[in-house]
């Protein structure tokens, strides 16, 4: 193979390879963004419909208190009880994150967070936390490729 042929082949493979790999993966990026957005909008519509239905059909007072040894108590309140009691020093972002987590876990919008307070700090050591993280990591692969 002459130098010219080598240069030509190198450029062909370099350009074709990079352009096709980027084009393919950019295309996939947009497709995934598109279908993710569609699914999320459909799901949020469904959720809001369910919430409306739930409000219409469940006006009576429930007063179930759940406290799973966490920082958060949440109740299914009556329509009147809307005040959220937050312990001093807990930032708004944390409140929002906890509310979102409760909403994600328990689903219906009739549930709302009513109390947020700090619990006693866990006794778990840094090594214990590292072990917890390690054993709950979602990727359970062992370097096979």
């Amino acid at each position: 193979m002459s130098i010219d042929q080598k240069v030509q082949l190198s450029l062909i493979v370099l350009l074709t390879g990079l352009v096709i790999v980027f084009a393919m993966l950019i295309f996939l990026t947009y497709i995934i963004k598109g279908y993710s957005a569609t699914i999320r909008s459909i799901m949020s519509k469904n959720n809001s419909k369910k919430a409306d239905t739930a409000i219409d059909t469940k006006p009576e007072k429930e007063d179930v208190k759940v406290n799973e040894s966490s920082d958060v108590s949440y109740e299914v309140p009556s329509e009147q009880s809307t005040n959220l009691v937050i312990e001093e020093g807990i930032p708004e972002e944390v409140v929002a994150a906890i509310s979102a987590a409760v909403y994600t876990m328990y689903g219906t919008s009739t549930n709302k967070v009513t109390h947020i307070r700090r619990s006693v700090q866990s006794n778990r050591s840094a090594w214990g936390m590292a072990g917890l993280l390690d054993s709950t990591r979602p990727i359970l692969m062992d370097g096979l490729f």
Partner: protein, 413 residues
Amino acid sequence: MNIWNEFLSSVINIFKTSGFATNDWRNYIMIGIACVLLYLAIKKEFEPLLLLPIAFGMLLVNLFPLIMAPPDTTLQLVSEYMTAHGGAAGNYATVMLNGEQYYQIPQVGGLFYYLYQGVKLGIYPPLIFLGIGAMTDFGPLISNPKSFLLGAAAQLGIFMTFIGAIFLGFTGKQAGAIGIIGGADGPTAIFVTAKLAPELLGPIAVAAYSYMALVPIIQPPIMRALTTKKERSIVMEQLRPVSKLEKILFPIIVTIIVSLLLPDACPLVGMLMLGNLFRESGVVGRISNTAQNELMNIITIFLGVTVGATATGEVFLSIKTIQIVVLGLLAFCFGTAGGVLFGKIMCHATHGKVNPLIGSAGVSAVPMAARVAQKVGQEENPGNFLLMHAMGPNVAGVIGSAVAAGVLISILG
């Protein structure tokens, strides 16, 4: 006296067929290399799941080269055969040579010859991908699809190494097979090499798996050299949760798009996504478990020993192997650099929301490369958890290298 002579003659014949008489010095060097690789796999735990069978395959083929021998046919005089078998005629085809009739007696090949057909015919790598798909959570990638760009950028190593190999005198097909080492993806490297340059399978597989094991050593200096302390300290936003429906649709959509646009990548990407669909659908738990455990382990054994068995002294001990080892290292370095540099571009484009270190995970080598990104990030900021962010480019790199493999096979095959 006659008995003594027969005894000596038998002993001499046994010695003549033993490894001491039939193997040459190159086999002994390869036996030494195999022992070093076994040490690295067992003691240092360098990719032991594959390096151990590869090293043992290498050991066996250099002790007994006929273990990889293809099936053959031997000729035996019909009269000799019948004498040896008490006058019974054999059920073999006959051929006349110099006025004498011979039986064509087929001889079976060596054990590894038959196991190697799975590599040669491109069966094992897609099956390994099936298992990998069943073990992979594409959630971080679906949550942040821009990670695909980092997975694409890290394929730079493949194409830069291709150029280097061409200018070192390799043919186009051989250069393509060497370049794919930069994909940092063992099954893909074996798949492409078996198709483009099967004669280089041994050195390429050993180089690919050795460098993958060395990712924690190769990548960090490049990552530190190409980023600033401030960039390495960037804390990325929490990834959004991904719904089950999104995870189920992902493998179906990726398979359809990639297979339609680049059919050569279909066997790898298709099997990867099939394994992932087993996992995410949640309705075939038994099949999913089989794919990621029993099947994966069986194929890993067959793939490892047979790829190792291609590394005979005659093939492995050549200047080409040294060139492949050097080019493989460059491929990893270019791939890492490509990912990190593109990560920097994304960092600037998003006004500092992307930590460029996660770009290095785009070279595949799942999940090692993602762990390296996490480790290097935590050196600057102990409270920074980049692992899940790095898993996005990491699994995108698997798809990216499969696409790059399809491109190379399409252009050079």
